[in-house]
């Protein structure tokens, strides 16, 4: 089946960011003075637990960031393509996406949440809760069979999860054993006791816990709506999983899109000093003196006017939503850019006095080359730390901004939009709590993991923490 790829701006940028990180990791590998702090991150237990969880989120987000359009009908040159861009992730969880109920239904329910008039086979009409089209459709009599059915599936899935965990653990032990040239048993015991530098036992336990939740949810979702359905009958689990991409993009791209700007300005201010420094400092002081929310609100309002007066630029709804998401990243970047710029300026001020820069001057290397070859690689770690530290705050900010009405497009699935609609659902009688609960759960785990990982990174890079902990201070 021929597909046409539909590359959204944010897709391209998120893979660019991934490429940059891989490139930087490769660059750092050969340079011990840059690699040392990252090794400390890898040795931190809480950091690696968080990294394992983040990797799971990242996998979903990355799969959800390769879009294409499916053909609807026709052949050859006359083939017509759908205007809706789907992602690989959408295809993987296709049943979740397409099995839409009529309206709300509770988690794991077999009946709809609202009463309806049902026509019985004999022609009589009654008002009752109708059966769901898909949830629990395999059961003949849900009232008596449902609990047993769910228990049976959960049990099987837990067995499967344990098996899957064992296979992955065995492969991992095998790899480590091969690298260290030890035998399998010895390596496994060492890893279990946590005798390696990297806390493999913590990583494997976290991975196992994730499996214990993921498998039952995955297997139950084949026949039930694990987190219920929302107002238009969409599966809440699907919405929560789709929200991950939006959160990841806001959290990471925000720093990336403003990066060239912040790098250029920060390094130039620190390197040239004098009036260049004054000008750049004035510029960012001015920007940072506008309260963030108001600046974002003003900019997003203006962008809406722009989009309304230039409709021809956005042919599909997806592209429109994507542009809005990208713009939101840019404007969030403008507000958070100033602190990064300030840090880069300070670091450059320090670096420019070092001997190797002085030597480069003496050899007559041009300013541009000094900045690009000698200063830039040595401030890149600040950029990565900023990405990590600001991530959780940005994911939380997305929800708030979307609520205010200046966040992502209402058609885009995001935590903010889920919470936004949940606000009215909680006021219903009885309350529809599952949307809010699912958004809360997925968001909490993501932000908590990001916060813990950020702490590990900060500890690894902060010399003061190391002195307090009795570790040798990094040299240089």
């Amino acid at each position: 089946m021929p597909l046409i790829p539909a590359v959204l701006w944010t897709d391209a940028l998120i893979y660019l960011l991934l490429a940059l990180i891989v490139l930087f990791a490769w660059y750092v590998r050969g340079r011990p003075h840059l690699a040392a702090p990252w090794k400390r991150v890898a040795q931190s237990k809480s950091g690696m637990i968080a990294a394992t969880v983040l990797a799971a989120y990242l996998a979903v987000g990355l799969l959800d960031s390769i879009h294409f359009r499916l053909p609807i009908e026709g052949n050859g040159a006359k083939r017509v393509y759908s205007v809706e861009a789907l992602s690989i992730f959408d295809l993987l969880v296709n049943p979740l996406r397409t099995r839409v109920e009529k309206t709300y239904s509770a988690p794991l329910a077999a009946y709809l949440f609202a009463k309806e008039t049902i026509q019985l086979p004999d022609g009589a009409e009654i008002r009752d809760y109708p059966r769901l089209k898909y949830g629990g459709a395999n059961l003949r009599d849900p009232v008596s069979e449902r609990a047993a059915d769910i228990a049976r599936r959960v049990f099987y899935s837990l067995v499967l999860a344990a098996l899957a965990w064992m296979v992955v653990a065995a492969i991992l032990v095998r790899l480590v054993a091969m690298r260290r040239k030890r035998d399998f048993r010895e390596t496994a015991m060492a890893m279990w006791r946590g005798e390696n530098e990297i806390p493999w036992n913590a990583i494997l336990i976290t991975f196992g816990t994730l499996m214990l939740f993921a498998f039952p949810v995955a297997i139950l979702s084949a026949h039930y709506h694990v987190f219920g359905t929302d107002k238009v009958g969409q599966d809440v689990l699907y919405l929560s999983l789709k929200s991950i991409r939006t959160g990841l993009i806001i959290g990471t791209l925000t720093t990336l899109v403003m990066l060239p700007f912040a790098l250029a300005m920060g390094i130039m201010a620190g390197y040239f000093r004098g009036w260049v420094d004054d000008g750049i400092q004035y510029f960012y002081t001015t920007l940072s003196s506008i309260p963030d929310v108001l600046l974002i609100a003003a900019a997003v309002l203006m962008m809406q006017v722009f989009m309304d007066s230039h409709p021809q630029m956005f042919p599909t709804v997806t592209e429109r939503a994507d542009f809005r998401l990208l713009f939101l990243c840019i404007i969030l970047g403008v507000t958070s850019w100033t602190s990064l710029c300030r840090l880069l300026r300070g670091e450059t001020l320090k670096l420019r006095e070092l001997e190797y820069i002085q030597a480069a001057h003496a050899f007559g290397v041009s300013h541009l080359r000094i900045m690009a070859r000698h200063i830039l690689p040595n401030v890149m770690h600040i950029v990565l730390i900023t990405v990590v530290l600001s991530f959780s705050g940005l994911v939380l900010a997305e929800a708030v901004l979307t609520y205010v009405g200046v966040g992502v497009d209402p058609s885009m699935i995001s935590f903010g939009n889920m919470i936004n609609s949940a606000r009215l659902e909680m006021a219903r009688e009885p309350a529809v709590w599952w949307s809010l609960f699912a958004a809360f759960l997925f968001m909490f785990v993501l932000v908590l993991a990001a916060n813990l990982f950020a702490d590990a990174v900060r500890d690894a890079f902060d010399p003061r923490v190391r002195v307090a902990a009795g570790l040798p201070a990094p040299k240089g």
Binding site: F283, T286, S289, I290, P291, L295, D308, I419
Partner: protein, 325 residues
């Protein structure tokens, strides 16, 4: 001191001019007044006359920067830039797009905003600092460890959940206070208490952790060891020495937000239906009232700069070593 303040105020002028130019560029150059008029009028009623009429009513029918058709000084004053942007320096915000006096609205809405923001700010500060002192007192014990864990967990929860959860529990399930609304007089506490509690709780995580870092940094310093060597009790060391010396980093973060309290909180006020400046802003955003958003951006920056100046002044109050000249 006085000359320092005067100098700081003078320094603030170029920054405010910068803010003014940024907002002007954002609101009038990126999109022309025609676009805004079309947006305000909606899709159906857009005729060139209607657009021209709307622009005339709201004073957008003038040239942007230079009015060649006018006489003398009004070549510069009879323009959008002068009327809409320069006049903000005199706190003359003109009329909102739905025809009300913005300055009057701001004055009347400051009260409710402050009624929520000030108690939440003071109680929050006290609670956070006491928790942080407690954790610092029990540093390197299980209480410290679990305290930090709870803080990180609490700061990983979106503020929206605290509000929705609080409203659901306190107002809907327990029926203790009204879900939303505001009134001055005897009823005020009834409406204020829930937003304040929710505001304090949602800030505990990040606040306590932040103050804990500050205290721990101070606790490792030499003067603290000296104080202990003198035989002072740990409580006395914490309150008399550590807390006092930690005032500088605390003030840096705290004083700057005091003037911003006037602006209120967008989210809290809109959830709890409080007629303050926060909900004014949010309503303006939702109804796309650019005049109000523009005014709020300007006031926000003014308050922020005032906060910075107040921070510097507060330093001299707690630290005799700092003299501003």
């Amino acid at each position: 001191m006085v000359s320092y303040i005067i100098r700081r105020v003078i320094y603030a002028i170029p920054i405010l001019i910068g803010v003014n130019i940024i907002t002007f560029a954002l609101f009038f150059v990126v999109n022309t007044p025609d676009d805004i008029a079309r947006m305000q009028l909606g899709v159906k009623r857009v005729t060139p006359e209607a657009v021209a009429n709307w622009k005339h009513e709201h004073g957008y029918d003038k040239p942007l920067l230079y009015n060649a058709g006018a006489q003398g000084r009004s070549k510069f004053t009879d323009t959008i830039f002068y009327r809409k942007s320069v006049r903000m320096f005199a706190f003359d915000f003109g009329l909102s797009d739905d025809g009300r006096d913005i300055a009057y609205e701001i004055r009347t809405r400051m009260g409710p905003s402050l009624a929520i923001a000030v108690p939440a700010f003071i109680v929050g500060l006290l609670v956070n600092i006491s928790f942080a002192l407690l954790i610092a007192f029990f540093r390197a014990t299980y209480l410290d460890f679990w305290g930090v864990v709870v803080c990180v967990a609490m700061m990983s929860i979106s503020g929206l959940f605290y509000i929705i959860g609080g409203q659901y529990l306190v107002s809907k399930l327990w029926n203790l206070v009204p879900i939303s609304g505001f009134d001055f007089g005897f009823d005020t506490p009834k409406f204020v208490i829930l937003p304040v509690i929710v505001g304090v709780i949602s800030g505990i995580g990040s606040g306590t952790r932040w103050y804990r870092t500050i205290f721990l940094e101070e606790i490792n310093k030499d003067y603290v060891r000296t104080a202990r060597a003198k035989g002072l009790s740990e409580i006395r060391v914490l309150f008399k020495h550590v807390l006092k010396n930690a005032m500088i980093p605390i003030l840096t973060g705290v004083v700057v937000v005091i003037p911003l309290l006037f602006l209120g909180s967008l989210i809290t006020e809109s959830f709890f239906g409080i007629p303050g400046l926060g909900s004014y802003t949010i309503d303006a955003i939702n109804s796309q009232d650019f005049a109000v958003v523009r005014a709020m951006v300007f006031i926000g920056s003014v308050f922020y700069i005032v906060g910075l100046i107040l921070t510097d002044i507060s330093y001299t109050m707690v630290d005799p070593r700092i003299r501003l000249a």
